[in-house]
């Protein structure tokens, strides 16, 4: 269990001299559910951009399962087993939830395999069971733009899982959701954490308390502190930069 699924070594990302991420060292164990919090502009989303290949780090290395994934294209990183959920739900609105999941769970993603091979019965069974996991069986065959915001969020998480990734990156999954929907998403993530490593970025402290085991606080592009939710909440630096702001 001591193998690291994700490590970054001295990663710096600078946009025209502004360092969105500054000498970031971060590591995560296999099977871990980690929550990253931090005030606005702390570099949380940029951090995910670096891992998934959307942004190239100016310096440093990103290791996934011990392999350097810097400079790989987004789709190659995704194929290695990193799934990413965006802040706003990014699903294919003109397809049905079933089709959305089918697109995501395709085993062989090159052009001609997609064109000539029919989905295997394994894949279709997987789609059906995923529809159940995310609670969209009844709405499996209507267009996805008719889904509510919370359903879209769950569908996108389902699409991540359909890729069978080893690491799920989840960016603010409960923004704009009701308390009940938030709780459901939390339960869904906890269930998924049994078989995946998950990295969640979140603002909502209530939600963080529901799911967090270990929390990392980012501030101005670097790790400010790391620990359980109680440790983090009692850390004077954290209170100063983040929680302090909230209570003020």
């Amino acid at each position: 269990m001591n193998a690291k699924i994700l490590e970054t070594e001295n990663v710096t990302v600078s946009f025209d001299g502004f360092k969105a991420i500054n000498q970031l060292n971060f590591s995560m164990d296999v099977g871990e559910l980690r929550v990253v919090i931090g005030p606005n502009g702390a570099g949380k989303t940029t951090f995910l951009d670096v891992i998934t290949g959307k942004v190239q780090p100016t310096q440093g290395r990103v290791l996934f399962k011990g392999r350097n994934i810097k400079r790989l294209a987004e789709h190659k990183i995704a194929r290695l087993g990193i799934g990413r959920k965006f802040q706003t739900p990014r699903i294919y609105l003109n397809l049905t939830p079933r089709e959305n999941l089918e697109v995501a769970c395709n085993r062989n993603k090159n052009v001609f395999a997609t064109l000539f091979q029919r989905p295997s019965s394994d894949e279709r069974r997987k789609v059906v069971s995923l529809l159940e996991t995310v609670g969209l069986v009844a709405k499996a065959d209507i267009r996805a733009d008719l889904l509510s915001h919370g359903e879209k969020q769950r569908l996108e998480i389902g699409m991540l899982v359909a890729q069978s990734p080893d690491l799920l990156l989840v960016d603010e999954p409960v923004a704009g959701l009701t308390d009940e929907e938030t709780y459901n998403i939390g339960e869904l993530l906890l269930a998924l954490a049994q078989s995946h490593s998950i990295l969640v970025i979140e603002h909502d402290m209530e939600f963080v308390r529901q799911i967090a085991r270990k929390v990392t606080v980012l501030h101005e592009g670097s790790v400010l502190c790391e620990g359980t939710i109680e440790e983090v909440q009692n850390d004077p630096h954290v209170i100063e930069v983040y929680l302090g702001q909230q209570s003020a």
Partner: protein, 395 residues
């Protein structure tokens, strides 16, 4: 749970196969009507010349299918399909221009001797062979499309930038063909065809054969596009249109998909150009005019993006409208075209077929006074969960 899933999938599969069979039958029926019923019908009402017109427009329908594939489904707006259309036309026209009687004193297309060319240019020689020419009709546009597509899509050029690039390419090709009098007869283009496979190109039977071939090719192109857009591949095209970066993060490389679709759509344009050339008797750089490429997009917009039937229907409607209106009001077609485009953009953004699918049926029914009454909130009527609960309550 897995037990009761399998039979349902089989049932869905069967229903799908049956609807596919019905659709195929309809397409074949329409093709047969076009081939066997339309000519005598038009002749009976004294409009026999319109059959040639119909043939041309059906040929244009093939390129409209290609545009629908790349624009309607994949969301890439190409304003340069005239290039591929013209290349297909030129490839076949070159073969036709080489049908020189063996006893003729100069074994060259007549325009070449006019410009003082004494020997056939090297790249014309393969076009003596009909097989090569037919392959070239499809392959030259396809390969050019693949090359252009690869260079552009690999660098993630999208949206307006791609459209502008295709326009620029159109101008480049237009100027090249327009300027090469000695190679392609410049602005006059290749015209005055005599024979093909020994048959007189302008004889009514030959023209009817071209017409029939056009119908068959249109049906085949429709089948190809239908196959491409129906399965997982088609869904991925829509996915690329809706959210390309999501597709990347799902582990697909969109470049390959876009290149393939662009190449296929270019190949279809080439076929269309060849059939159009056969039936108009001329291919000139005018086919690479930017306005013509934009017109193609208008046909698809009128019929309905991402509906294959709409692409063909839009082509026929707009072009017949054009020919009828320009007979009556020779100078004002462009105004009508502008009006048509504005109407489509403002009133029918999904085109005719798209409108029919979404609300047309309902509006038609309410005109007949048979409107389905909505007694609750529409969102509840639409919600499958509510409907399922209702059914279960009934039990």
């Amino acid at each position: 749970m897995t037990v009761d899933v399998a039979p349902r999938m089989v049932r869905v599969e069967r229903r799908w196969q049956r609807s596919l069979l019905i659709e195929g039958a309809i397409v074949v029926a329409i093709a047969l009507i076009l081939i066997f019923l339309m000519p005598p019908l038009l002749a009976a009402v004294g409009q026999a010349f319109r059959i040639n017109l119909l043939g041309k427009f059906l040929a244009l329908g093939i390129v409209a299918l290609g545009i629908d594939l790349i624009w309607g489904y994949t969301g890439i707006l190409s304003l340069g399909h005239g290039i591929f259309f013209a290349l297909g036309g030129y490839a076949l026209a070159m073969h036709l221009k080489l049908q020189i009687p063996p006893d003729a004193s100069i074994q060259l297309p007549e325009f070449m001797s006019l410009y003082g060319v004494t020997e056939l240019p090297l790249f014309w020689k393969p076009f003596y062979s009909l097989g090569f020419s037919l392959a070239a009709v499809i392959l030259i546009p396809t390969l050019l499309g693949a090359l252009l597509g690869y260079l552009v899509f690999r660098n993630r050029i999208r949206g307006v930038y791609f459209s502008i690039l295709t326009q620029a390419a159109t101008i480049v090709f237009f100027n090249f063909f327009n300027g090469q009098q000695r190679l392609f007869n410049g602005t006059n283009g290749l015209t005055d065809y005599k024979t093909l496979l020994g048959a007189d190109v302008n004889a009514p039977q030959t023209q009817f054969a071209f017409y029939t071939l056009t119908v068959v090719l249109l049906a085949a192109s429709y089948a190809l596009c239908r196959w491409l857009t129906s399965g997982r591949f088609g869904r991925l095209l829509i996915a690329i249109r809706d959210d390309e970066s999501r597709v990347r993060f799902s582990g697909y490389n969109p470049t390959g998909f876009k290149v393939l679709v662009f190449a296929i759509s270019a190949g279809l344009a080439g076929i269309a150009g060849a059939m159009f050339t056969l039936q108009t008797g001329i291919i000139s750089p005018k086919a690479m005019d930017i306005a013509f490429s934009i017109e193609m997009v208008i046909w698809v917009a009128v019929g309905g993006r991402a509906t294959l039937v709409g692409a063909v229907l839009g082509t026929l409607l707009v072009n017949f409208g054009k020919s009828l209106l320009s007979e009556k009001f020779p100078d004002s077609w462009l105004f009508f075209q502008g009006l048509l485009f504005l109407t489509v953009v403002t009133v029918l953004p999904d085109g005719l077929i798209g409108w029919m699918r979404s609300q047309g049926l309902n509006q038609f029914q309410s005109l007949l006074g048979r409107r389905k009454q909505v007694i609750t909130y529409p969102s509840l009527e639409e919600d499958p969960e509510v409907q399922r609960e209702r059914e279960n309550l009934g039990n």
